[in-house]
Amino acid sequence: MFVEEKTSLAEEIELLVKKHGNNRSALLTILHEIQKKHRYISDYAQQEIARHLNIHPVEVYSVISFYSFLNSKPKGRNIVRICQTISCDMKGKESLVKAIERELKIKIGDTTKDNKFTVEFANCLGLCDESPAMSINDRVYTKLTPEKAIKLLNEVK
């Protein structure tokens, strides 16, 4: 990582700590914001956050590893999550998965070569009445067909 990048990330973290405080209870909120912007929380970011919050970096890592929305490894610029739970499963989740895998030429869980998409499974998104459902970043889409899903992916920058 370049030094400038490091510094800008450090500044960012400093601002977040200013905004949310340096209590342990601010940890998840800070992690969430870094995750949202960078799509993952790097080792360096973890160390910086730990330093500000006065906890061991391992503590930060152990929290990240617990929550499925937080990652310590880089992901694609856009995260696509397809609900794999029963109601969506019954309404054609499998055909969504197949279409997306074909179209993006990856398997679920992977990131495309151009780093544009990471595709994952999600557990129930709370949209079972409009299944099958999937999310792209923090937006959700319902009553999908394979065709509709691919159209949505094509609209993503």
């Binding site: 209590n23 342990r24 209870s25 601010a26 940890l27 998840l28 909120t29 992690l31 969430h32 919050l53 152990s62 929290v63 617990f66 929550y67 499925s68 929305f69 937080l70 794999q84 739970t85 029963i86 109601s87 499963d89 019954m90 999600a122 557990n123 129930c124 998104l125 709370g126 949209l127 079972c128 009445d129 409009e130 299944s131 999310s135 923090d138 937006r139 959700v140």
Partner: protein, 402 residues
């Protein structure tokens, strides 16, 4: 927001004007509110069914300079989406319920723990809270009640089903892994930041303003003797009209199936992955605390569905979502899933399956939190109620019968 408000129901979806419950509450003494709640016999709507008045009384009685009221909006049970509907279409009920809770237990701060999957609701909820602040429904001296101060903040979860368990939720709020705590101590005296905390389900809170405004007697008129009031059911799966329905406790499964226009129904999963799978022969059973108690997830399966596949989906869910803290749940769910896969491949023995059912029963008592205690329910109920179908394949058709 506030679109599509043509839902019908006797309690939650009955008429309500923003702020009315708060107005009434602050004209009463705290004890009067607690008594009204006690008379109403309202029980927690998240599934566990603990009397709300008891929880509030204990929190109110704890002596502390700081107390918290937490709204558990971490609904992650497969097949549940009622909280989403309440937060989108009826935020006034949930928020007013929180303000009333704050007044009653003496808390100045409310926190909504919103599941990460619902991040798209965050903006509109925050706008809503700002409106409340403008109208003095939040803040200092609320609606002119001198000394009554309360505000609400929203905390976003990060995708962990187990955080729906109240002590895991508190751990998560404090910036830790969402691992359930040993109890006692209970949150009512040692909760968030070690302070007395009442954690309530979104639906429970949404019911409160109605009860405070219209009285316990009115509420008791709906439902059955031991299950007062109504319940929101999130209905999905094989039916023409999936969605959220408010029905009085005591409604039978058959009545619900008719309402949502389900045809050729073979089975209904009540209570999501952690609930029970009910076969057709029991569709006259009642949804109520005394018969089939539930947080409200209803998933419908018609004749075409393969129940072993359904069970496998549930067990995969639990293997993923177990927090791994205690052995019965961490190892147990993996073993149950392996059992399902054995049946799938025709490699099971009956002796082993019986052992797995026993393992399930051990998990129900030995697991540390609700997740591990309830995850064997589907395994046991599907294997018992759909034996013929599930074992059919490897036993030479029709479970070996001619």
């Amino acid at each position: 927001m506030n679109k599509n408000k043509n839902r019908q129901g006797k309690v939650i979806f009955s008429e309500y004007l923003r702020g009315d419950g708060i107005k009434k509450a602050i004209s009463l003494k705290r004890e009067e509110i607690l008594l009204e709640l006690k008379t109403s016999k309202l029980k927690g709507r998240g599934g566990a069914g603990f009397p709300t008045s008891t929880k509030w009384m204990l929190t109110a009685a704890s002596i502390s300079d700081e107390k918290y009221i937490i709204c558990n909006a971490d609904e992650g049970e497969p097949g549940t989406f009622k909280d989403r509907v309440l937060l989108v279409e009826y935020p006034e009920l949930v928020m007013d319920g929180m303000v009333i809770a704050g007044y009653t237990i003496g808390a100045k701060k409310g926190i909504i723990y919103l599941r990460g999957e619902y991040e798209y609701l965050l903006k509109s909820l925050q706008d809503y809270l700002n409106e409340m602040r403008k109208d003095n429904l939040l803040g200092k001296d609320i609606l002119g009640k001198v000394g009554f101060e309360f505000d609400i903040e929203i905390f976003l979860g990060s995708g962990a089903y187990v955080c729906g368990e109240e002590t895991a939720l508190i751990e998560s709020l404090e910036g830790n892994r969402g691992e359930a705590r040993n109890r006692p101590p209970y949150p009512v005296n040692t909760g968030y930041n070690g302070k007395p905390t009442s954690v309530n389900n979104v639906e429970t809170l949404a019911t409160i303003p109605h009860i405070v405004l219209k009285g316990a007697e009115w509420f008791l008129n709906v439902g059955t003797d031991n299950s007062s009031g109504s319940k929101l059911f999130s209905v999905s799966g094989d039916c023409a009209k999936p969605g959220v329905y408010e029905l009085p406790w005591g409604t039978t499964i058959n009545e619900l199936l008719n309402l949502v226009e389900a045809k050729n129904t073979k089975a209904v999963q009540i209570g999501g992955a952690s609930g029970f799978c009910i076969p057709k022969s029991q569709f006259d059973r009642k949804l109520s605390y005394e018969d089939i108690s539930t947080g409200g997830s209803v998933i419908i399966f018609n004749e075409s569905r393969n129940m072993l596949k359904v069970l496998k989906n549930f067990m995969e869910f639990f293997v993923e979502e177990s927090c791994g803290q205690c052995t019965p749940c961490r190892i147990g769910n993996v073993k149950l899933l392996e059992g399902v896969e054995m049946i799938e491949k025709g490699e099971h023995t009956f002796t082993y399956l019986n052992k797995l059912k026993d393992l399930g029963k051990t998990m129900q008592v030995a697991s540390k939190c609700g997740l591990g205690q309830s995850s064997p329910n589907s395994f046991i109920s599907i294997l018992e109620n759909f034996k013929d179908e599930v074992l059919n394949y490897s036993n030479g058709g029709n479970n070996g019968r001619i």
